[in-house]
Amino acid sequence: MTDTISTKPADKPAVNYARQFERIALLLVWVIIIGLFSAVMPRAFFNWGNFSIMFASYAPAALLALAIIIPLTAGDYDLSVGATLTLSASTIGVLNVWHQMPIGLMLVIVLGMGVLVGLFHALFIIYFRVPSLVVTLGSTSLMSGLVQWMTNSSTIGGIDNGLIMAAVGYRLFGIPYAFYYALAAALVMWYIFDYTPLGRKLLFVGRGREVARLNGIAVNKVRVGALVMSGVLASGAGILYAGVLGSADPYSGLNFLLPAFAAAFLGATTIQPGRFNPWGTLVAVYFLATGITGLSMLGIPLWVTNVFNGGALIAAVTISQITRGREASDIG
């Protein structure tokens, strides 16, 4: 018996072990599946080249998942991020390849477009009070249509080499730069979520809008800001996607939506369980990426990817429901 102030109840440590385990459970599962795939394919799977490609090629998906958790934390869905990514990548294709616009100016235009997408959503969600699910589902179709019109439904190849080099040309520790952009975004978001008043406001706006309002938080501004940020990040993901592919594909971007949502919810079961958190999201993206990469290297047919992603989304939400009560379902 020491004279320290800590007078914690006897059953406390047991609870904390469970908590600690919950934090790292997904990381452990990740290590286990890496181990399994490596045992089966020691040469093809377990080498740095494979991992560095995976880290780079899933960087746009990681940015997209990070984009989603901003409005999710503030209590709004943004289902349009996949379409925003496609719109942004296609705009780069059209302006850069067809109209020879310099890449620097284009980045500004495309990111500005992300702002507009966010403001468009905010107008309907916050001003006209249309549910975010409906607005962003509608704008997904709307933007997909625009993309088809812009690109004549064709893939545009020959994107500026500077962008390609910036995405996959240069490497650090063998991993293309693309990954580090996602890492940087996660770092900035971690700082904002955990170490700024804005992060707390975001959280309270999401969990208790009326409580936040009555405590003097500018609820609408926070929600607009979150939607704009997800638009900008999704546009950024589009830029990265164009760089990684070296071309603008008017269709494949939408396939990112489901894995991104799966990663967002799966990420909310780890690192900081019960909250959408950037590190958890990043871990979840690469956990899913590892599963899909491994499975496809085993020669499992393409449809398994969809089953895997969809199953992961449902499993992630189910796990957070079971372990954390109803928190993850607070979004509406």
């Binding site: 008043p197 959280l203 409580v211 009555l214 405590n215 003097g216 500018a218």
Partner: protein, 543 residues
Amino acid sequence: MTGVSDQTLSGPTNHPGAPQALPVLSVSNISKTFGGAKALQNVSFKVMPGEVHGLLGKNGSGKSTLVKILAGFHAPDDGGTMQFNGDAVSLPLKPGDYRRLGMAFVHQNLGLIPSLTVLENLRLVPLTSGKALYIDWSTQDRAARQALSRFSLDLDPNERVDRLTPVQRALLAIVRAFEEIEASRAITGRPGLVLLDEPTPFLPAAGVEQLFSMVRSITQSGSSVIFISHDIDEVMEITDSITVLRDGEMAGALTRDEASHEAIVKMIVGRNLFKTARPAGGPVERPVFARISGLSGKMLQKSDLHVGKGEILGLTGLIGSGYGEVPYLVFGAHPARSGTITVDGGAELAQTALSPRAAIDMGFALLPGDRQGASGVDSLPIVDNLFLPDVSRFFKGGFMRNRAMVREAKSLGAAFEVRPNDPGLKLSALSGGNAQKVLIARWMNRSPLLLLLDEPTQGVDVGTRQQIFAALRAAAAKGMSVICASSEAEQLAEICDRVLVFSKGSICTELVGDALTKEGISEACYATAAPASTSPLTSRVAP
């Protein structure tokens, strides 16, 4: 004390044939252990036909556990027995078993579906479980009207429930419960039991009266009612016998004749309450802190009021009288139709333009009545809830000082006697009373100039109430002004320096000094509702 006194068994004497009747419900030696903790220990009581049985106890005394066992939600420990109308019932009950026996529950949230009509809510069970291939709406309508008219309740069956007043909703829920026990009575031919789990805290005095007369009609039909409440006076008024729980055990069983307010409080709390009396004598002269003119809202008509520096001003009245709107309108939380406010002799500001942010910056604080919906976020930690309005204070050198936050939260929690005092816990981990302490601490920590309260002790146990009152009084003594809207006359009489009674949207009576008593407040509420009776207790004192 696990037994029930003989007097309790005899039941109400006004009920013919009661002495030899079987109890409707009889439970004995009910215990419930959660993990290692005893939530209930050897609880026994009986409810006679035509009786209203009160169930009292603090938050956490085991009342809700008992209710959940009766509803088949929890399985009790082995060893308990239960009889319904003399027949042994095997425990644990299965969920829904209570309906077959002839029991019905009205929980505090009432279990109504707001977006559906009165008819659909009232006939929910017959509409959804009927075997008919189609619904004959005219029959359903007739049945609904009949059920409503039995209690002379003037409701349109086609009105949506979310358009009803809180009182009407509560009454509707009770009508539905009564219909349910009547339905099973038609089969078994034996009396049923309606359990009302704290139906009154959200109701104004007049609504409580209506509810009581409905309870009396139920018992006149021979069925029984279990009435659970925090309000001792209500329990004394309506019940025939009372069971008090404390820390999961029987603290006592009383008949109405034996029961005195003090005896019950003693049983609930287990100790004598420290009564802090208001300083005796007339009104104290205080400089005016805020003067509000021409304030109007949804129900509130243009009203003028002021609050002095260090004064605790109470606002009360019947439902619809508009008093409950005042804290929200002053804070800018709900839009005011008109009104101005002058603070500390400064410039006149329009209430219509005031936002919560601006109000906070002026040193105002609002503690809404809806604790979970508007006051705190259950799913977030206590520490974040505590510093919500001024979280930026901890942002130094580009980073939130999370450790400093927890440290300050810990000492604040200790000062306000929050138990358990662990700021990392979620707010939902605390009992209602402790959560309220956290939310009061949030505002008091900022030393507000004007604290606006709406039903601050709703669902808060007696002991915690006293702590909250003491904290309010201490802060008022240091110059904080308080405006407290409440429907509880007793509470207002205890803490307020002055009480304004509202009627039909306007202030009608001002009570100070000797006129400021529980009876005086209640009477002022009713006097204004029925202008014929003039009360000697009400007095108008010029500010």
